[in-house]
């Protein structure tokens, strides 16, 4: 029975998400008017992790074989053949690095108080911060994180948005994340902190242990120890801790690979999730709000979603300037 809980949350379902994202890139490159900006964005995605690069290479290589299918009909030669060769674009070393190197920041702490740095992502953006101690912080869409990092102190403040922390544990220099009136302390772990609305906070632990403390409020405010699979939702002074299965947590972390994983979500929920990543907002009419859908979607591709609503679910789509209305 313990089989489910043994699963490493970080890896479970990850390959599928990476493949979904890689195939979306490749399908776009094969069928879109592919420009320099597209190529730069793809190269940035490929250089994020070897897993991205490998998934893309694999799909691309398999896809390359289908160009030979043209030979089955092959009435056309020369031009058509040359055109197809361009599909097998050779990789170039990615020029675009989305990683911000923070190595060496600690040295500055000899001179007075360590400096605070502020990192932000735009709507639809994503960044990975690499700290000198090997820790990594991945920022999701529309996020503001303040960070103090020195030889003595490691503390972050999540002003807004969502971040995934993969922290190299150091008991002498615990890593803390402050969110409003709460503080999350790393006890050797990987965890997600989401600060969506101003007064709600969600902490999900995918490995190890963290401690969640209220820094203000009633005397003797409770301290919660959270372990793998625990999800704490804090609203005001109330904290509710539930346990989610590994796969659910992995789905919530789909954004780390640029995808939104929907499993039996209502259209209204799906729209709310998409809207975090896009400036053009989805609006679902009440008549369609409760229709359930599932699937893996690129977070920035609202068009794919609306077209599927149209073509697969048979819904109507009305496009306006800043929003897209979906109704029955």
């Amino acid at each position: 029975m313990s089989g489910e809980t043994e699963v490493d949350v970080l890896t479970f379902g990850r390959a599928e998400q990476v493949e979904a994202a890689a195939s979306d890139w490749l399908a776009r490159r094969v069928t879109d008017n592919w420009g320099e900006a597209d190529e730069a964005a793809l190269q940035a995605w490929l250089s994020e992790t070897p897993a991205h690069r490998i998934a893309f290479l694999r799909l691309e290589a398999a896809w390359g074989y289908t160009s030979r299918l043209g030979a089955l009909r092959a009435p056309r030669r020369g031009l058509a053949r040359d055109a197809k060769m361009s599909g097998r674009v050779v990789f170039r070393i990615a020029a675009a690095m989305v990683v911000l190197a923070l190595v060496g920041l600690g040295a500055g702490s000899y001179f007075g108080a360590p400096r605070e740095k502020i990192y932000t992502t735009a709507v639809g953006g994503r960044e990975t911060l690499k700290l000198a101690d090997g820790s990594q912080i991945e920022l999701n869409t529309d996020t503001v994180l303040r960070l103090v990092y020195s030889r003595k102190v490691r503390k972050a403040t999540l002003e807004r948005g969502e971040a995934y922390f993969h922290i190299a544990h150091d008991a002498a220099r615990p890593f803390t994340v402050r969110v409003g009136q709460h503080r999350v302390t790393d006890l050797g772990t990987k965890f997600l902190v989401r600060h969506a609305a101003s007064d709600t906070l969600e902490v999900a632990v995918t490995e190890g242990l963290v401690r969640l403390d209220a820094t203000e409020g009633p005397a003797g405010a409770r301290s919660n120890l959270l372990s793998v699979g625990d999800v704490a939702v804090v609203t005001g002074h109330n904290t509710v801790v539930t346990r989610k299965p590994a796969q659910k947590l992995a789905e919530e972390l789909g954004w780390r690979h640029g995808v939104l994983v929907l499993d039996n979500a209502t259209l209204a929920d799906a729209a709310a999730q998409f809207n975090r990543y896009n400036t053009r907002k989805l609006v679902i009419a009440p008549s369609a709000a409760r229709i359930a859908i599932g699937g893996t979607f690129p977070t920035n591709n609202i068009e794919a979603f609306t077209e599927l609503a149209q073509d697969v679910l048979g819904l109507k789509v009305k496009e306006r300037k800043d929003e897209i209305l979906i109704l029955r």
């Binding site: 490998i54 398999a62 289908t66």
Partner: protein, 182 residues
Amino acid sequence: MGDGVTVSEVDAWFVREVLPLESVLMQFLRRNWSNKSEIADMRQDVYVRVYEAARRQIPQPAKPFVLATARNLMINRVRREQVVSIEAVADLDALGVAADTPGPEAVAIGKDTLRRVQAALDRLPERSREVVVLKQIEELSRQEIAQRMGIGEETVKWHMAKGMRALADMIYGDPGELGRKS
């Protein structure tokens, strides 16, 4: 970055030498790992480790290295999860032999490729197959495909992406099925 081998060299090597081993690797993983839902992730982990090793130095020959990497990954996972099933231990012992012996089943992707790819195409979901055929054989643009099929362009892309994933799985992951003569 101080790496010994360039990215494009590793990419080319990976496509040429490692991907054709995928069916062997998958058999190996399936035979020795009981939780089937983890196989896809494990394959990815093996690939990442192999790729990263190749960035330092390309391992030759590829096959024993890939299988040894898979074996080590399984052993590490069993250790880390700390709940060792008896079955897993027994199989891991047997792995030592399997990983080091080059088998006769090395797959040559080049051979019969056209027929195999055709067979893979035949097994795609209908809409995905239609999109792939219109693109690769009829050489239509996305817009033209969308018009022909009476669906949106994003839906075309969606079916295309789905078809690409299925093709890769069939071409690399399961060529035994495809190569079978009926």
